[in-house]
Structures are given as structure tokens and as C-alpha cells.
């Protein structure tokens, strides 16, 4: 019996299962990221809002999400939240890929809380005089943010956001608990079917590592290409 059977990874049914898992993981990453970014921006702005209730709302969002493990979020969005919906919508949802939808919602909301904090830090790194200058020119809060502060702040924010994307990528593996057939899940299935633990998890590890390194590389490249301007 060979110790490490590459053929399992290169062709055949188990290869297909692992590749399907990798693709689904990448889809989870993309969908969650696309949802998380705008939510994060809104939450960051809420936390900096001149209105106290809005600030409080942003604070409540960030703290309540950040202080609960992602696993609990997954289980909530799969087992708990959909049950509150009206029957018709519920049945329509359950007939489709409810597992993947729940995972995307959980991942997006969870990641958004962390990204919001990064964006807020980025905004706060811009001297307040810039904001005041914007207001003095007659722009409102949102316009000042959009035209003056955010373009400078987002440049500072991109490296930490890429780092959050790295976490998001690794966190997609937690979707396994709600039966989403992503990479970790498929690796488990292949192991279960073939008893080839080393091969299946080697594939999963290599895939996570390569995508993670690509994301890290992107951060490094961005850092060189668009260095933070000293203000």
C-alpha cells in the first residue's frame, strides 16, 4: 500500500469532490465579501455619525457580533433565523440551497463587524481638520465623507481589509457544521469514503494555503503600489 496516493487527488470521483468543494469555498468567499464590504462601510459610518442613536446602533452591531463565535452565528442563521420567516418564504428557501445561503449571511455579517472597525480606524486616522474643511466648504456629513475623508481613509484601510479577507477565507470552513459541501466538508467525505485521511486533508490544506498566500500577496502588492501617503 503506497503511503501517499497522488492518483486519488489528480483524477476520478474523489478528485471531483475535492475540486467541487474548493469551488464552493471560493464562491462562499466571493459572495460573503461582496455583501460584507458595503455593510462594513455603513456600520463604520454609523459609529462615526453625529447622531447618538446611530452611533449606538453601530456599536451594538459590532460588539454583539464580534463577541459571539462564528460557529454560533452559523447555527443561528441556519437553524434559528429562517424559522422566523413566514411559511411561504420559508418553504421556498428550504427547497433551495438554504445551507449555502445561511452560511453566506453568517459569514458576511460576521466579517462586516471586523471590517467596520478597520474602516472606522482608517477614517479616524484622517486628521479632523480635513472633515472640518469639508464642512466649511458647505458639504454635509455624507458628502464630506464621500468626497474628502473616505478617499484618503480607504487607502489606509485596504491592507487590514485584505487581512480580514484572509480570515474570511479560512472561516468559510466553518460552514461545514451546517452541511455546506465546501472544501473541509468534501475532504471529510473523501476521508470517510476512502480512509485516505492524509491525501484528502493534504489537498484541503494545500488549497487553503495557496489561496491564503495569494491574498497575502495581494496585500503586499497593494502596499507597494499604493503606499499610505504621509499626511
Amino acid at each position: 500500500m503506497p503511503l501517499f496516493d497522488y492518483s486519488l487527488l489528480l483524477t476520478g470521483k474523489y478528485h471531483d469532490m475535492l475540486v467541487a468543494g474548493l469551488l464552493l469555498s471560493l464562491q462562499l468567499l466571493a459572495a460573503s465579501l461582496v455583501l460584507a464590504l458595503p455593510i462594513a462601510l455603513v456600520v463604520a459610518l454609523l459609529r462615526l455619525s453625529p447622531l447618538a442613536p446611530l452611533r449606538w446602533l453601530g456599536f451594538a452591531y459590532v460588539e454583539s457580533i464580534r463577541n459571539i463565535p462564528l460557529l454560533a452565528h452559523m447555527l443561528f442563521w441556519y437553524f434559528g433565523a429562517p424559522e422566523l420567516l413566514p411559511d411561504g418564504i420559508k418553504q421556498w428557501l428550504y427547497a433551495g440551497h438554504i445551507e449555502a445561503y445561511s452560511a453566506i449571511v453568517a459569514l458576511a455579517l460576521y466579517t462586516a463587524a471586523f471590517m467596520a472597525e478597520d474602516i472606522r480606524s482608517g477614517i479616524r486616522a484622517i486628521p479632523t481638520v480635513q472633515f472640518e474643511a469639508g464642512r466649511a466648504l458647505g458639504f454635509g456629513f455624507l458628502d464630506t465623507m464621500r468626497r474628502v475623508v473616505l478617499p484618503q481613509a480607504l487607502r489606509i484601510t485596504v491592507p487590514p481589509l485584505i487581512s480580514q479577507t484572509l480570515s474570511l477565507w479560512k472561516n468559510t470552513s466553518i460552514a461545514t457544521v451546517i452541511g455546506v459541501a465546501e472544501l473541509m466538508y468534501q475532504a471529510g467525505q473523501v476521508e470517510s469514503a476512502t480512509f485516505r485521511s492524509f491525501e484528502s486533508f493534504a489537498f484541503a490544506s494545500a488549497a487553503y494555503l495557496s489561496v491564503s498566500l495569494a491574498i497575502t500577496g495581494l496585500a503586499t502588492w497593494y502596499h507597494h503600489r499604493f503606499p499610505v501617503r504621509t499626511i
Binding site: 437553524f79 457544521v177 451546517i178 471529510g188
Partner: protein
Amino acid sequence: MRHTLLAAALAASTFLLGTVAHADQLADIKKKGELVVGVLGTDEPATFVDPKTRQIVGYEVDLVNAIAKKIGVKPVLKQIAVAARIPELQQGHVDLVAAGLTHNKEREAQIDFSLTTFVTGQKAIVKKDSGITDIPQLGGKKVLTIRGGTQEPNIRKAVPTAEVVTFDTSQQAFQALQQGKGVGYVDDEAALLRSYAKLGPAKAQYVVLKQNLSTEALAIGIKKGESGLKAVVDDTLRELEKSGEAQKIFVKWYGPDTASGFQTRDFKFESDKID
């Protein structure tokens, strides 16, 4: 039944690390005066903690007690995790494993098995209003079960077109069925009937499909090559069968008056061979 893969992986690594050669285990058991048995302790009614006495009791415990009595030593139960069953046995931390252990061909290379002590079929339960009455009708539908055991490969074998979604625990999978996130739920018959019983009045909305997806033989695990110990275990089981005690123990834990509600005992302690 569950986590065969992890157990196998752990067992394989144990094997690679090398196991210490052992003298006759039966003699050792007699010398120390106790028979140490690995049990799950969370697998009602096979082995579980009695809420009143805080002692581990159950079907497998009764069998173990009989074996200890036959050898003339004190039974000592040690709770172990599903995945640790085979490694604990191979490393000699326990003398026997009576922990819902499925006897299959892959495991025969690693440990020996007693006579089959329980035969369970895997079955499916569906909501009545799904209109499903037969296993093949699950084709193309979402079917829920536990991960890591023999349930999933068995569904795939029986209904290749079913979309199988698996969970870490049977409770989660069953919960998903109740919420309508799949049309069927598959598990070992005894476990499935127990979940079904817990539904209470809602039982009327569900049907347990008659046909079995597969059958599984459970047995007591014995360290490989310990023929003396295996002989005494098998003899005890044969005697229990002959005296009618085996039937009584079955009825006590799985019979019509229990939550498992088995009407008949469809197996006997007679063979240690599996198909």
C-alpha cells in the same frame, strides 16, 4: 457506528507507532482482578448514565457484567470517545470495548470482534405529507443524516441520486428534518426510533419507512490476537443465549415497553462472521 473514519485514522497511527508485545491478556485480567471495559456512556440504551444512581447502565453493561462474572473479576467501566475506541483498545488502556462498535471488514485488520451482540438496520423517517413511502422515492430529494459514520455511504449506495446533507450530531440532523430542510432523515434503527419517540404527539406527522437501507452488526471489540479473552467473551455470550438471558436483556432495554419499542429480537448471539 459513527466516526469510523477518525477511529480508523487514529488506529492506523497507533499501529504505525508500534504496539508493545503483550503476554496473555486474560491472565493479566485475572491477576489484577478487574476487567476494564471502554464504553460510550452517552448512547442510550446501550450504555448511559442512570439519572438516579449516576451509574452507567444499559444493554452493553449487562453483557459486560456477565463476562466479568464468568472470568471471576470486577467489571470497571471507562467512558471513552467514539473516535478513541480502537486506539484505547490497541494501546491496552481497556481490555474490551463495548461502545456501539460496528463490526466491519476494514476494522477486522485492526482488532478482533466477539460474536455479534446486536443487529441494527439503518432506516429513514419522512414527513407523512411528503407522500414518500419507499426508500427509492428519496431519489433527487434532500436527505439528512450524521457525518462520519456508515449512514451516509449507505444512503448513497441505496439511493445514489439523493442529495445528502450531513451534520455533526443526530440531534442537529433531526432538527433540520423537523424544520423541513430535507424530506428524510436516516439513522440506525434504534437511534431513529428514539428520536421518533421524542416527537410526542407530533409523531402522527411522520412515517418510519419499513425498508432497511442496510444492516449493521455490532460487537464487542477485543485486542487482536487475544484468543483466550475472545474465547471467554464468546462463551459467555453463547451461554446467555442458551439460558434465555440474552432475550431478557434485550427486552429490558429495547423491548416493546421501552422508548426503542422493538417488537421482536431478530438476531441471536451465534456468529462472529459478517457479510
